[in-house]
């Protein structure tokens, strides 16, 4: 089975990069290639210039991965887990940083609790902490907020954004498109193992989505010659898709010329979900 085909992309240092795509698009496979868990049949992957196969030590030393699966070692406490993980990266005395990471992820109270006794959300926090023990310049988060409550999500994003401001590059895969929209400066959309779209979040939103204009008029008929297309008509309420904000002026002018009054009006900003559905061919 071919999971990835001709994916070529480069994440710049310090970027907050999003990797989106439906289930089975190849996001996790791509991450596993970067992490050295899966070996690509052809092609190469580099982390900070280090080839993940031939210079695997240097590549892995600079990479922190939060795996998607909620895995843990039931023999150890949270602190033991983080100390062991530090040791795997050659760090013997890492407690000050371990304490800081635990503090930011609200794990301090659970430091001496066995991993088995933690809730799913807490285990997820430990996974994130494990990926950060060696302060890697590149952090990969594979669905980090799946099944996680709002409080942790916010705490997690605060911490990840701080790491990003401090110069760490972040690669994020998520099913929550609003998270990608809120945090990622650039996005790649994968579909069936290929890159279907790769651009800045702003450009993707602008080029694909346009603007949605929601109108509540004083009559149930739209005047002719309005720009854009009608998405939905329900009585006197209409949803129109405009190509850009520039069309708004013309739309309002047509309504005025036709003597149609506006009771309510709303402009919906471009929505990544729409872009996603169109790019992956799932939208109408």
């Amino acid at each position: 089975m071919r999971a990835l085909a001709g994916v070529s992309l480069e994440v710049e240092q310090g970027e907050f990069f999003g990797l989106l795509g439906p289930n089975g698009a190849g996001k996790t496979t791509l991450i596993n290639v970067i992490a050295g868990l899966v070996r690509a049949d052809v092609g190469t992957a580099r982390v900070m210039g280090a080839d993940v196969l031939t210079e695997y030590r240097r590549a892995r030393q600079q990479l922190g991965v939060v795996p998607q699966e909620l895995v843990f070692d039931p023999f150890f406490t949270v602190r033991e887990t983080l100390r062991l993980q530090s040791g795997y990266y050659g760090l013997r005395r890492n407690d000050p940083w371990i304490d800081e990471v635990m503090h930011h992820l609200d794990l301090t109270a659970k430091a001496d609790a066995n991993m088995r006794s933690l809730s799913g959300g807490m285990k997820r926090r430990v996974l994130v902490a494990q990926a950060l023990v060696h302060k890697p310049p590149v952090i990969v988060l594979d669905e980090p907020t799946a099944g996680v409550d709002v409080e942790l999500r916010q705490g997690l994003w605060r911490f990840v954004r701080r790491m990003n401001r401090d110069g760490h590059s972040i690669v994020l895969t998520t099913h929550y498109l609003e998270e990608a929209e809120a945090h990622c400066s650039r996005i790649a959309m994968l579909k069936e193992g290929r890159i279907a779209a790769l651009d800045t979040t702003r450009n993707l939103l602008g080029s694909f989505s346009g603007v949605e204009l929601r109108l509540h008029l004083d009559r149930e008929v739209l005047p002719a010659g309005l720009p854009g297309s009608v998405l939905e008509a329900d009585g006197a309420q209409f949803r129109l898709r405009l190509a850009s904000y520039r069309d708004l002026e013309e739309a309002l002018a047509r309504l005025r010329q036709a003597g149609v009054g506006i009771r309510e009006m709303e402009l919906a900003p471009p929505d990544l979900e729409e872009v996603f559905l169109r790019v992956t061919g799932r939208g109408s």
């Binding site: 992490a35 868990l37 030590r57 895995v71 062991l84």
Partner: protein, 251 residues
């Protein structure tokens, strides 16, 4: 170096944390063998002149527990990590396959030796034993435990399920250790079985280990040591090649 030490430390912590299961249980099992076989056969068999059967039995039982526990340690640790998925924490870290190999084998050797020492310590109450050549005892214990620890690693790598590791243990390790001359001297066997026993690597480990206690053995100890060492080298090369290829670990 610190990566290897950490992984080794983790493996040691793992079995010490469940020492009732990993140390006390095998010690008890071995003592039961000693009590049952010792009482049933004491006075009926004299394998070496002037050596009581129970005394003959102890070194063999010690070595058998060293070997079985070394195997159990690396195989069960690895298969558990693979099944629960936490092996990923080691696989994504900058740990070389040689460090990985060394850490698992060293931990297996330690577990084997700890169980063996505990068995030996407890049997002091049952029999009086003198160690005639401690260096032989140590050499066979170390090499034997390393060989079985390495075999355990192979079993852990190639298996996908715990049943497969158990099958390895029940159909390979257990028969080979029971047929290695723990309970008897192979000289008491019919010629065919004697020949077959020479094809069993466990025989050389048990026989050489016993030589360290009594100064007598079925096979010259230096030749036994060379054979065990050759097995260790061969199995280690295969294991290192497996780990390097990422077989059933990295896809």
């Amino acid at each position: 170096m610190s990566r290897f030490l950490t992984l080794c430390h983790k493996e040691l912590l793992r079995f010490f944390k469940v020492s009732v299961q990993t140390i006390a249980a095998p010690v008890l099992t071995t003592l039961l063998y000693l009590v049952i076989f010792g009482h049933a056969l004491e006075g009926r068999l004299e394998v070496y002149e002037g050596v009581r059967y129970t005394a003959f039995l102890v070194p063999g039982l010690v070595m058998m527990s060293v070997l079985q526990n070394a195997f159990a340690n690396s195989s069960s640790s690895l298969i558990q990590s693979k099944i629960t998925g936490n092996i990923v924490f080691v696989l994504i870290a900058p740990i070389s396959y040689a460090e990985f190999f060394a850490a698992y084998v060293v931990a297996a050797v330690v577990r084997g030796l700890v169980v063996g020492l505990c068995v030996l310590a407890v049997t002091v109450w049952f029999v009086e034993l003198r160690v005639q050549a401690p260096l032989w005892v140590l050499a066979f214990a170390l090499l034997g435990a390393a060989l079985l620890g390495t075999l355990g690693l192979v079993a852990g790598v190639v298996s996908d399920k715990i049943d497969q590791v158990s099958a390895f243990q029940n159909f390979v390790v257990l028969p080979l250790s029971f047929l290695s001359g723990v309970f008897y001297s192979i000289h008491s066997l019919p010629p065919v079985w004697q020949q077959l026993s020479h094809a069993n690597p466990f025989f050389y480990m048990v026989d050489g280990f016993r030589y360290g206690f009594f100064g007598a053995s079925d096979f010259p100890p230096l030749a036994s040591l060379a054979i065990v060492f050759a097995f260790l080298l061969a199995v280690s090369s295969v294991t290192l090649a497996l780990l390097k290829s990422g077989y059933k670990m990295r896809y």
